[in-house]
């Protein structure tokens, strides 16, 4: 234990007074006194209180009784369960307030440490530069403290991971947390151990002992780690099969040998759904899993497919090479006008040079006979094509002829119709002329026979009527209505049909 009235003691006193004030049992007058108690350098007291913060009084804990010291909580680096509202964060350190103080002049709030350090350089509010007196113008806003107390924080000791309200954190951390590193139970040892191990009965944990299992030298604090990683002597019981296994080989045992653990059939990838203990699976595999055959077939099929693909690939290559060899660079397209040109390449292989090159490529051709055979086949195909083309053009020609003929037929039919119409007109004209002639005849003979005036024989009408009509032009003019009516009648009866 440090002697009384050490700087550390002073810090704790300051923090204690702050927390006593937090409880709200102190009036404003008392609050003011709080700062003035620490003589002239009140700011420096505040500062030192927060510079090496040990904000809570030493509790009668295992660690405190053992070694009188635990690492303090660094409130600025705490992790909060949920993001903290901006309004609860100090504008200077940008973390949730720790021991907040509010200015009575402008109402801005800061952590005690932050505002103290700021006021040290300039006695004004860091936000609006209003003058602030360290002794008079700072007070603790209860509502802010209450909100801060309710925030959920993570215990800062490594490995703990507990979330609790900020209010309860000091109690947990200072008294209960098993993971907090405290001084070694041996006062002469300067190292630290987790609180769970720091019992006076344990003595110093930082000395070497001989491992009872493997007889190697190990530090007591590292014994568990030694068992788990390197000790070949320390064994443990497997939870599945109750077998005794070296501790650090337990994983291997579970993965490879343990008869209690369940595993899948080897042919799971082929569809076997068997999932049982190791011996059962081994028996199942020994008897022959049905999916084994399927798997083999599958792999065979895959092999075959690969082979087929390979062969196809090679065949394509050969085809392409053959085409290159057979077709001359300026091979004429076999078309309607020049399909005869298709015969040209046949002659080429006959030439000694082509034959020689063909022989040189015996790997692809086998022999000249093969080559000729190929050529023959090609020729046959071309002849076939030419034949189809001839047939095609023949049929086209016929179609064209038929089309022409149809057109002529139509024209002839039309002309016939017109001739018929004309002849009918002529006939009607002839009838009219004859009637006129008859009327004239009756007028000429005083007592002529009127009965014969209506009808004349159509046969004799022809040339005679035309001459008479010219002679009687005046009469037509003298009697135009009768003429017009008749002619129109005649037209009405035989309209020209074109």
């Amino acid at each position: 234990m440090p002697p009384p009235n050490t700087p550390e003691d002073e810090i704790q006193t300051a923090a204690m007074s702050y927390h006593r004030n937090l409880n709200g049992r102190v009036g404003p007058q008392r609050r003011r006194n709080r700062w003035s108690t620490s003589t002239s350098a009140s700011t420096s007291t505040l500062l030192s209180a927060s510079a090496s913060p040990s904000p809570f009084p030493p509790s009668p804990t295992r660690c405190s009784t053992l070694c009188g010291c635990i690492p303090s909580i660094d409130y600025q680096s705490l992790d909060y369960e949920t993001p903290v509202d901006q309004a609860l964060q100090c504008p200077i350190c940008h973390t949730p307030f720790y021991m907040p103080l509010t200015t009575s002049t402008c109402g801005h709030t800061f952590c005690t440490e932050c505002i103290s350090r700021s006021l040290e350089t300039q006695p004004v509010c860091p936000i609006d530069r209003q003058p602030v007196n360290t002794d008079r113008d700072l007070y603790r806003a209860r509502v802010i403290c209450d909100q801060l107390d309710r925030l959920k924080v993570k215990c800062p000791s490594k490995g703990c991971g507990l979330f609790c309200t900020r209010e309860l954190l000091p109690a947990h951390y200072n008294v209960y947390c098993e993971y907090v590193l405290v001084h070694c139970p041996d006062p002469t040892c300067s190292r630290r151990v987790p609180r769970a191990d720091a019992h006076p009965d344990n003595g110093c944990l930082h000395r070497n002992i001989v491992c009872t299992y493997c007889e190697s030298e190990v530090m007591i604090a590292e014994l568990e780690e030694h068992y788990d990683t390197s000790c070949y002597g320390h064994t443990a019981k497997c939870s599945h099969c109750n077998a005794v296994v070296v501790r650090h080989l337990m994983d291997k045992h579970l993965g490879r040998d343990c008869p209690g653990t369940k595993k899948y059939c080897r042919f799971r990838s082929h569809g076997c759904k068997m999932h049982d203990t190791r011996p059962a699976i081994e028996e199942h595999e020994r008897l022959g899993c049905v999916y084994q055959a399927i798997g083999e077939l599958k792999s065979l099929r895959l092999e075959d497919r690969a082979r087929i693909e390979d062969l196809e690939h090679r065949l394509d290559g050969l085809d392409a090479r053959m085409k290159r060899k057979t077709s001359p660079p300026t091979r004429p397209r076999v078309g309607s006008s020049s399909f005869m040109g298709g015969f040209v390449p046949i002659v080429q292989p006959e030439s000694p040079r082509a034959a020689a090159s063909a022989a040189a490529n015996s790997a692809s051709w086998g022999s000249t006979e093969d080559y000729m055979l190929v050529q023959f086949e090609r020729l046959e195909a071309e002849i076939e094509r030419a034949h189809t083309m001839i047939l095609e053009s023949d049929s086209q020609h016929t179609m064209r002829q038929i089309n022409d003929l149809l057109r002529f037929n139509e024209q002839i039919y039309e002309l016939t119709n017109r001739v018929g119409a004309l002849s009918l007109q002529i006939r009607s004209l002839a009838v009219t002329t004859q009637q006129h002639n008859n009327v004239q005849g009756r007028a000429g003979a005083a007592n002529g026979t009127p009965s014969s005036s209506g009808i004349s024989s159509p046969g004799g009408g022809g040339a005679g009527t035309r001459g008479q009509s010219h002679e009687d032009g005046r009469r037509y003019h003298s009697n135009p209505p009768a003429m017009s009516r008749r002619s129109s009648d005649g037209r009405g009866q035989h309209p020209p049909r074109l």
């Binding site: 600025q76 504008p91 200077i92 350190c93 940008h94 973390t95 932050c114 350089t121 300039q122 004004v124």
Partner: protein
């Protein structure tokens, strides 16, 4: 020395919500040292210019102001030949409630509103007071010459 939470938070915010026209990127090997680029404000002779600055956060930041210096040559009455800036908030008027982003915004504002009555470069301030048109022309020319991305020199 571990980096204070405040600096980590400020850096994160500068990365995640950058201020328009301002970028500040910390050095990997020293997280207290920042490479800063400020775009010249529009309607000013520094328009279209990109000015490089260096920013360093001293050990007792935020109790002391960050140290900032122009790396790009600039014709401004409040910036001297070495790039040092005459700005009250960087000196006496610093407050720990100010941040990197607010300071950089103040510098950008200073570019938009030069103050020849409180000069750091007396010759520049003199030109600015006697013939403002000529001073603005020079500032524009320097911006074009030194702060244009294509041929920017330090």
């Amino acid at each position: 020395m571990a980096l204070p939470k405040r600096i980590i938070k400020e850096t994160e915010r500068l990365m995640n919500e950058p201020v328009p026209g301002i970028s500040a990127i910390p050095h990997e090997e020293n997280l207290r040292y920042f490479d800063v680029e400020i775009h010249g404000p529009s309607q000013s002779p520094y328009q279209d210019g990109i000015f490089k600055l260096e920013l360093f956060l001293p050990d007792d930041y935020p109790m002391t102001p960050p140290k900032i210096r122009f790396l790009t040559k600039i014709f401004h009455p409040n910036v001297d030949k070495l790039g040092r800036i005459c700005l009250d908030v960087l000196k006496n008027n610093w407050s720990p409630a100010l941040q990197i982003r607010t300071i950089l915004l103040s510098i950008q504002a200073l570019l938009g509103a030069p103050n020849p009555d409180d000069p750091l470069a007396p010759d520049v301030a003199k030109t600015w007071k006697e013939d403002e048109q000529a001073a603005i022309a020079t500032a524009t020319e320097w911006t074009k010459k030194y702060a244009t991305p294509t041929n920017q020199t330090d």
